[in-house]
């Protein structure tokens, strides 16, 4: 058996497109999460500099703020790693859908209406 013997179902494109969209949403979510963490870290830094410029601040407060910043840095690093991982999965899903769509066009299959119109193509 080879490729010619396969029964092709253009509806598979709908599944692949949905999959690509979902993975892209996950990627965006991760990017947003890393962004939020950076905002939180900036706020903490601001707070720290205020504490440091105040002569009556207790050293423990400064140490605590520094520890909090370090903790957020750790979260940012893992969020960045996660962004890279889900980014790879998302672009792979997009590429897979594109490849399948090109193949469907090349084989002259009638594309499902959900993905047929050019303007509505996800990728």
């Amino acid at each position: 058996m080879d490729e010619k013997d396969l029964d092709l179902d253009p509806r598979r494109l709908v599944v692949l497109e949905r999959n690509a969209r979902e993975k892209d949403a996950v990627r965006k979510g991760e990017v947003d999460r890393a962004h939020d963490l950076r905002d939180r870290r900036d706020d903490k830094r601001l707070e720290l500099s205020k504490l440091q410029s105040n002569p009556i601040t207790k050293p423990e407060r400064i140490a605590q703020a520094l520890a909090e910043i370090e903790e957020i840095n750790g979260l940012i690093r893992s969020a960045d790693d996660e962004t890279a991982a889900v980014g790879a999965t998302a672009s792979n899903a997009q590429m897979t859908f594109k490849r399948a769509r090109e193949f469907a066009v090349q084989m002259g299959l009638s594309l499902p209406p959900e993905i047929k119109k050019d303007g509505e193509f996800f990728v």
């Binding site: 058996m1 080879d2 490729e3 013997d5 396969l6 029964d7 092709l8 179902d9 253009p10 598979r12 494109l13 692949l16 999959n19 993975k23 996950v26 889900v86 790879a88 999965t89 792979n92 899903a93 590429m95 897979t96 490849r99 399948a100 090109e102 193949f103 469907a104 299959l109």
Partner: protein, 204 residues
């Protein structure tokens, strides 16, 4: 009593881990199959075909030398000047960086001389070269062209089955919301194939 929800998640985790291990094994088998095809494509021909090639070359070299030097006509000539074997050594103008130099081109003469040696000592030369081919083939076993083509076709069919199995497994993992990636070089037809037809491929 164990928490049933905890048990469910533990079982699910186990199942996903099993599927991912299976996916790794499939991809390893696919990579190995592809490497096997490359090895078979580049493999040398077998001893039988190699000695056939040698025999062809020996025949051609001897025939070419004899027909080119044409000794029958040369020695039958009434003119003593032609009663010899004359090697074709030609002078050529050769462009060098410093200008034009005259060189003697002996390449054809050497080829014909080799052919003449083959015509007179074919069996001895053949014996020596066949021994060399045998030694080489002992370390680098070759494949007959027909055998190689059959083996490549069989391996391609095997790869197609493995790829169908991979695609079905990827679909199952995706349905279980496990993030997976497809190989970019995998056939696009598999992406659009119905699961039933993929099952059929695997069953063959």
């Amino acid at each position: 009593m164990k928490n049933p929800l905890k048990l469910f998640f533990a079982e699910r985790k186990q199942a996903v881990r099993g599927s991912l291990t299976e996916l790794d094994a499939l991809r390893e088998a696919i990579a190995e199959g592809e490497a096997k095809i490359v090895r078979m494509t580049n493999a040398s021909i077998d001893l039988h075909e190699a000695t056939d090639a040698l025999d062809r070359w020996l025949d051609d070299a001897a025939t070419e030398a004899i027909s080119s030097l044409n000794p029958g006509a040369s020695f039958s000539s009434r003119d003593p000047e032609y009663q010899c074997l004359k090697m074709p050594i030609v002078r050529r103008n050769f462009e060098t960086g410093k200008g034009i130099e005259m060189v003697q081109d002996t390449s054809r003469a050497v080829q014909l001389l080799l052919g003449l040696i083959v015509a007179t000592s074919r069996d001895k030369i053949r014996e020596v070269v066949v021994k060399q081919i045998e030694d080489f083939q002992q370390d680098n076993p070759g494949l007959s062209t027909e055998g190689r083509d059959q083996a490549i076709t069989a391996e391609r069919a095997n790869l197609f089955r493995l790829a169908a199995e991979e695609e079905l497994l990827l679909r199952a993992l995706e349905e279980a919301s496990v993030p997976v990636q497809r190989r970019p070089q995998a056939s696009a037809a598999l992406l659009l194939a119905t699961s039933a037809s993929l099952e059929k491929v695997i069953a063959t």
